[in-house]
């Protein structure tokens, strides 16, 4: 049975194809459309998934949307009416969108995808997240915790996943918290307060938090009451997201925490104002961590399970994930690599496959589920467009040359295999540099990324060498680090040898690289270790600020063109900046 999963129309739209219970492809629309956080129906991504499966839409048995649109409309309508008359702007905007388009989603999906309406199904937002985390995991049974802004009505949910003797899994939501008690919306409101873009700037809040102290926790406890089991209640007088699309917080929040930051004013951590903003970030980050740990403990209590799967946008908070792994009392913690809404496409497809009797695929999920480009295709393109390059005949020669360049301080783009599923570059669409160089983070920022100086860069490390540099606490984070989903402390050796990836608080969001999914990337790390004695590289995504991660070789070349990268490797072709 072939099932196409779709998530769309909020942010990060995506498509995923599951065939016979096996994940064939999963692609975010933004990687193809080049529009960051593209929310439109993922028609290109759907076509791409089908192409990877060698299928036409006529071959697909079911198309499943990742949430229940009418239930979501109910929430939006009730919330707007509840805020009468102040909810007028939200009401008019929401009605324009919903009456004009989204209420007729079944027909629109059928029309735009070119299928019939009776083949369209609808999952539940949080069950889609839960399925994305549990079904591709190695676990037979688990507690599943999903936490995000809001789905239909649910903001957090505890699910219980088990596997029967027949190999079929059962996944049921057993407890939930409802809108507006939402950690995701609270975090986003503070993100907006700190002058960052909602749904994009949450990573910046997490990075900024390391420079602050959580001294605003008492104030935040008036804004958000957190119970011992993770019960969350927001005081809506501090917020505006329930009555406005444009504004997340109310003037009362500014009266409590001080003035919000103007997005045009840079954060200067040497000033009292910069430190205040960092303290606000540290406070909401601490609250988020406390919430996630408490909710995970509650999930353990409710389900009695020893392992945990996590998904939902808040599960991309890598600092909180690591605390859950350490403190919530689970043996294993697994997070889906595309934990945000994009992942809902894959979860919904897997959920339908399971519900309709398909066996659960036991293979480990590859993090590179997007389109790959054959070496010959790349060579042909570079030849056609007359970009000078060196083509290597074997991997050894390629990785040796790249390792040598990186070791002498060059910064390079690395484009290999399929595009990554999820927001992290894991060695498929990466910018790589020497993590031993103390000035490297500044150089990568100044030449390519143009990011805020307080945002750290992440390391990619050989899985068998990572313990030397990172406090991995045995295998505690092994369900997280392959997808760069946990922030862990560096060891003394790590701090001494890897200054470019050591954040202000002595931590790093490490990726452990094995040969199963990243043979060429692993070979490069090994070559770099042979060259330098350190099997670790700085690894950041191959894109410019404000743009999505590159999807195709053309995107990579266009990015290379506009940056100061020294070289770009696409499959086995190396383009040198000086020669290009």
């Amino acid at each position: 049975m072939r099932i196409l999963g779709i998530s769309a129309l909020f942010h990060d739209s995506a498509a995923a194809l599951v065939d016979g219970g096996r994940v064939v492809a999963a692609v975010q629309e933004e990687r193809l459309s080049r529009k960051k956080n593209d929310a439109r129906l993922p028609l290109e991504a759907a076509r791409e998934c089908l192409a990877q499966g060698g299928l036409e839409l006529a071959d697909v048995d079911w198309v499943v949307f990742y949430e229940k649109p009418i239930a979501k409309f109910d929430r939006i309508l009730q919330t707007s009416l509840g805020a009468w008359p102040r909810g007028i702007l939200r009401f008019t905007r929401a009605m324009r969108t919903w009456l004009g388009d989204r209420l007729w989603l079944e027909g629109r999906l059928a029309r735009e995808l070119g299928t019939s309406a009776d083949r369209i199904l609808f999952s539940d937002h949080h069950l889609s997240h839960a399925a994305s985390a549990f079904f591709p995991s190695p676990l037979e049974r688990a507690a599943v915790l999903t936490v995000d802004g809001v789905g239909e009505w649910t903001t957090s949910a505890i699910h219980h996943a088990t596997t029967g003797d027949d190999g079929r899994a059962r996944l049921a939501t057993v407890a939930r918290q409802r809108f507006p008690g939402s950690m995701g919306l609270l975090y986003s409101a503070i993100t907006a307060y700190l002058g960052f873009e909602v749904n994009v700037g949450e990573y910046m809040v997490m990075g900024l938090a390391a420079y602050g102290e959580p001294r605003f926790l008492p104030e935040l406890s008036r804004v958000a009451r957190l119970g011992p089991a993770g019960e969350l209640a927001l005081d809506m007088r501090y917020f505006a997201f329930h009555r406005s699309d444009a504004q997340s917080f109310s003037p009362r929040l500014e009266a409590l925490l001080g003035p919000a930051r103007d997005p045009a004013t840079p954060i200067d951590l040497d000033t009292a104002e910069g430190r205040r903003l960092a303290d606000v970030a540290a406070s909401v980050q601490r609250l988020c961590e406390d919430y996630l740990v408490a909710a995970a403990r509650e999930a353990r209590r409710v389900t009695g399970e020893a392992d945990l799967c996590l998904a939902g946008g808040v599960a991309l908070n890598c600092v909180a994930n690591a605390r859950v792994a350490r403190e919530a009392g689970f043996d294993r913690v697994v997070v889906h690599p595309a934990a945000g809404d994009a992942g809902g496409a894959l979860g919904a497809a897997l959920l339908v496959a399971n519900a309709l009797g398909e066996p659960r695929d036991r293979a480990t999920l590859s993090p590179q589920l997007g389109r790959a480009w054959a070496d010959e295709e790349v060579r042909g393109f570079l030849r056609d467009v007359r970009v000078r390059h060196t083509a290597f005949d074997d991997d050894d020669a390629l990785v040796t040359e790249v390792a040598r360049r990186l070791a002498r301080g060059e910064v390079g783009g690395w484009f290999q295999g399929g595009s990554e599923w999820g927001p992290r570059a894991l060695g498929g669409r990466s910018i790589l540099a020497d993590a031993r160089d103390p000035g490297m983070a500044d150089r990568v920022n100044a030449r390519v990324k143009y990011r805020e100086p307080f945002r750290p860069f992440a390391p990619a490390a050989l899985a068998d060498d990572a313990h030397r540099f990172f406090a991995l606490d045995g295998g505690r984070y092994e369900g997280l680090t392959p997808h760069m989903l946990a922030v862990v402390p560096l060891t003394d050796a790590g701090r001494a040898e890897l200054p470019a990836v050591c954040h202000a608080d002595g931590t790093a969001r490490v990726q452990t690289v094995d040969s199963r999914h990243h043979p060429r990337f692993r070979a490069l790390l090994e070559a770099f270790r042979a060259e330098t004695g350190v099997g670790v590289l700085l690894n950041t995504s191959l894109n410019l600020k404000g743009e999505p991660i590159c999807g195709s070789p053309v995107d990579a070349l266009a990015t290379f063109d506009r940056s100061d990268l020294d070289f770009l490797v696409v499959e086995r072709c190396l383009v040198d900046k000086r020669a290009a």
């Binding site: 080049r34 529009k35 960051k36 499943v64 989603l105 049921a172 030849r383 056609d384």
Partner: protein
């Protein structure tokens, strides 16, 4: 085929001082250009990716790289003129690829490129001249240089696309070329009409819905408030989507 300032429509020349009157307006216009150039870059690069003819592939690729560079230069110039005005604007977020190569087919695509680049070249000629004038030059010499540089690229785009169309005409496909140009012009006019109508439709629907909200919704609002359930921590539930009926429901 290359335009000069004197070829540019009078309206463009007259409108320039008004449209580019303040730092804020200049920054916003430059960000608008950045969005257009970025969108164009995405289309040209996609065309290079899909096109089979190596010569056209090379031309489209060069064109795409030029446009991407222009977008970057416009964005940087906007930031220098007024960082506050552009802090919230991201041309990359607004830039849209239209997949014209795929949608229009090769001949119409090239016709589109020729017409739009010719229009852009005229516009940038006017702006280069505008910012080069002594009255505007004081703090704007940099913008005059920027537009003059970009005009050079635009001229190349005009000339290569015209050369492709001319080559097709020489191959006896003149009628097809003429038809393609006409179709693109009609499509452009229709798109402009729809673009112009959108803000009007948005305002009108907003007004109607606003009146509905104020006049017809108070009773429903009261019911919504009275029946609102406070968020009360964890609620035990049992939700499972185990059958086709469950999965067909939209609520």
């Amino acid at each position: 085929m290359i335009t000069t300032t004197s070829d540019a429509p009078l309206l463009l020349r007259l409108a320039a001082p008004l449209a580019w009157r303040s730092d804020r307006a200049i920054a916003q216009k430059l960000m608008g250009f950045a969005a257009t150039e970025q969108g164009s870059a995405l289309d040209m690069l996609r065309a290079a990716e899909r096109e089979a003819d190596p010569r056209l592939r090379r031309l489209f690729f060069k064109h795409g790289r030029d446009e991407a560079r222009h977008a970057m230069r416009f964005r940087e110039a906007a930031r220098r003129v007024d960082p506050r005005a552009v802090a919230r604007a991201s041309e990359a977020a607004r830039a849209e690829r239209q997949d014209l190569h795929e949608r229009l087919g090769l001949m119409r695509f090239v016709a589109f490129v020729w017409l739009s680049e010719r229009r852009a070249a005229k516009q940038f000629e006017v702006l280069a001249a505008h910012f080069a004038r002594p009255a505007a030059a004081g703090s704007r010499a940099e913008l005059a240089r920027l537009f003059a540089d970009i005009v050079k690229d635009e001229r190349f785009h005009v000339s290569y696309s015209r050369a492709i169309l001319d080559a097709w005409c020489a191959d006896g496909r003149e009628r097809e070329v003429r038809r393609a140009l006409r179709a693109v012009r009609v499509h452009g006019a229709w798109s402009a009409w729809r673009r112009a109508g959108r803000p009007f439709g948005t305002v009108l629907s907003g007004l109607v819905l606003g009146v509905v909200f104020v006049a017809a919704m108070p009773l429903f609002a009261l019911v919504a408030r009275l029946t609102r359930r406070p968020a009360a921590g964890w609620e035990p539930v049992r939700t499972e989507l185990a059958s086709l009926d469950d999965l067909r429901r939209q609520f």
